[in-house]
């Protein structure tokens, strides 16, 4: 078994927190989806997740899977289906670590 990670010690790290909540200029694909030109990674995740919920995109047989509609597909690497578990990672792809 993997050693238990320090649970939420993440927040003790200001760099990581900044990474999460700093506003970032968005690439055009994401800009269209979000409807604004700047958003934080956290804000983007919440936006996408609530989009999934309001449009009822979770697979009725397996709630852990999202059936992407066209709009969602455009920002999630064009995949027809994504697992909820990979959602944070997929969104992170749009937020590359900027130059220090």
């Amino acid at each position: 078994m993997l050693p238990q990670r320090a649970k939420t010690a993440l927040l003790a790290n200001p760099k990581k927190l900044g990474n999460l909540i700093d506003l970032v200029n968005l690439p055009s694909t994401l800009r269209e989806f979000v409807g604004q030109s700047q958003i934080s990674r956290l804000g983007c995740f919440i936006r996408v997740w609530s989009y999934i919920k309001t449009n009822n995109l979770q697979d009725p047989n397996n709630r852990n899977v999202v059936n992407c509609d066209e709009k969602l597909r455009s920002i999630l690497l064009g995949k027809p289906q994504v697992e909820l578990a990979e959602l944070p990672m997929l969104i992170k792809l749009h937020f590359p670590r900027g130059p220090k």
Binding site: T8, L42, N64, L84, A85, E86, P88, M89
Partner: protein
């Protein structure tokens, strides 16, 4: 995990009122006589039940008039005052309390110079108004809070004024000065003034003294505090009392300095004080902070030998300490013992015990205890539920955990960081990711945690899951 369990954390938060620095006049009494009752300032205790709200005699006029003055300008205030005087019929005698209230509401928004001028104006236009001690105390409190000037000219002016008008500063004045100065972070001035006023025959009383010691022991190093105690003892013969020692012991325990605490206990005995229940509780708490929960038993025995009657806090601390030290069975026995002694276990008691059981991995036993607790008519609080959720998540009793979570959600309880993270992690591990997302939503919606905290717990749980899955697939590959 050397953390204070959630159940204790909230009750500690209740002690905030003792620290509350922003009551402008802690002892403002409308009567001309100096206030006689004061809250007993002692180190924070673990039970909210003991907290006494310091009763300030609120002047009824003060509330209704607190918004009379809208601008800090002196001339505006004078105009307002004149119009108030004119609008009241001569039959209606305006008493001193009314004037004091007016004066206070103006000085709250203005500076000491203007306040003083306003006071002069009031006495001039309204000869029936004779400033009393409370009036000067208002002025005193506000002149302590002016942005720092090195020699406190306005404070000295006020003190002189009091002397001239037949109200030499007394113990209540000293108290107000010390508290006001400490509330704006000017402790050095407070110490200086205490010394000075002590020489002028108004030494601080034990409340002021202990307040200052307590305040200083929080923000200064120990040697400074000892220096001050010695200084005051030599110069004005102010001796530390039992409360002072309790404060000191509490503060050294907080900084995990056990040796110093033991030394202080020795000094205490030498000075002829007998530890009371409160002090014993403080020592027990100290041991709990120091992660040697097992020592509490020794303290308890000593208490019994000395014939000091334990109270609810004692038992709660005892049970907490034993639970933390892993001696849950012994802790459990005390539930019965304390009830025999007439102290009924409360939510804190049960939560500590549940915490101990969960630490031992007996989350289901803790859940049973919840039932027992409810049967006995003791209402669990959100800490109790969080402790249980944490425990259930840790021991992977997910269905029970989910049930509990639903219950918490229904009653709108907040989730605590640790229990939230554990719960989300165990949900993710069981591949119940959609549910984990739901918990995330609830945490955000109920404002239990900051969005970022909630998200990062979710994200790291998912990362961990991916890692575990990755490991599994590689091992399968090898086979």
């Amino acid at each position: 995990m050397g953390k204070i369990p959630p159940s204790f954390r909230t009750s500690l938060a209740h002690t905030g009122l003792v620290k509350n620095p922003l009551s402008p006049l802690p002892q403002q009494s409308p009567s001309p006589t100096p206030p006689t009752h004061k809250p007993h300032y002692v180190p924070s205790k673990k039970t909210p039940s003991k907290k006494k709200q310091p009763k300030t005699d609120r002047n009824p006029d003060l509330d209704s008039n607190s918004m009379v003055f809208k601008s800090a300008s002196l001339s505006d205030a004078k105009k307002t005052f004149n119009s108030i005087i004119l609008s009241t019929s001569p039959v209606q005698q305006l008493d001193t309390r009314f004037h004091n209230a007016l004066f206070q509401s103006f000085s709250q928004i203005s500076n000491p110079q203007d306040s003083l001028s306003f006071l002069h104006h009031m006495t001039k236009t309204q000869p029936s108004f004779i400033p009393n001690r409370s009036t000067y105390h208002i002025l005193l409190a506000h002149s302590c809070k002016t942005p720092s000037d090195p020699d406190l000219p306005s404070l000295r002016k006020t003190l002189d004024l009091m002397d001239q008008n037949g109200f030499p500063p007394d113990q209540s004045s000293v108290d107000i000065i010390v508290r006001s100065l400490c509330s704006v972070g000017r402790e050095d001035h407070a110490v200086e003034l205490i010394k000075e006023l002590s020489l002028k025959n108004s030494p601080p009383d034990s409340f002021t003294y202990n307040f200052l010691i307590r305040h200083l022991s929080k923000i200064r190093v120990l040697s400074t505090v000892y220096g001050l105690i010695e200084d005051l003892q030599n110069s004005v013969n102010l001796k530390p009392d039992l409360v002072t020692y309790t404060i000191l012991i509490d503060s050294v325990c907080r900084s995990k300095n056990l040796r110093e605490a033991t030394r202080l206990l020795g000094v205490l005995h030498e000075s002829g004080f007998k530890p009371d229940c409160f002090l014993y509780n403080t020592i027990m708490k100290g041991y709990c902070i120091l992660d040697s929960g097992n020592e509490v038993m020794g303290v308890y025995k000593k208490m019994m030998e000395d014939g000091v009657e334990p109270d609810l806090v004692t038992y709660n601390t005892l049970i907490y300490g034993l639970s933390k030290g892993g001696r849950v069975n012994e802790a459990r026995k005390f539930l019965g013992i304390m009830a025999e002694m007439g102290h009924f276990p409360d939510a804190i008691t049960y939560t500590s015990l549940m915490n101990g059981m969960c630490r031992k991995g007996d989350a289901l036993g803790a859940l049973q205890l919840l039932e027992e607790m409810e049967q006995k008519g003791c209402n669990p609080n959100s800490c109790t539920y969080n402790t249980l959720l944490h425990g259930l998540g840790k021991s992977r009793f997910l269905d029970k955990g989910w049930e509990l979570y639903e219950m918490m959600k229904l009653s709108g309880m907040k989730l605590e960081t640790a229990s939230y993270a554990t719960f989300v992690r165990s949900l993710c591990r069981a591949d119940r990711i959609a549910e984990a997302y739901g918990v995330f939503d609830y945490a955000v919606e109920s404002k239990s945690l900051t969005d970022a905290a909630a998200y990062s717990a979710l994200e790291s749980s998912l990362k961990l899951l991916k890692k575990i899955k990755g490991q599994l697939s590689t091992t399968e590959h090898v086979i």
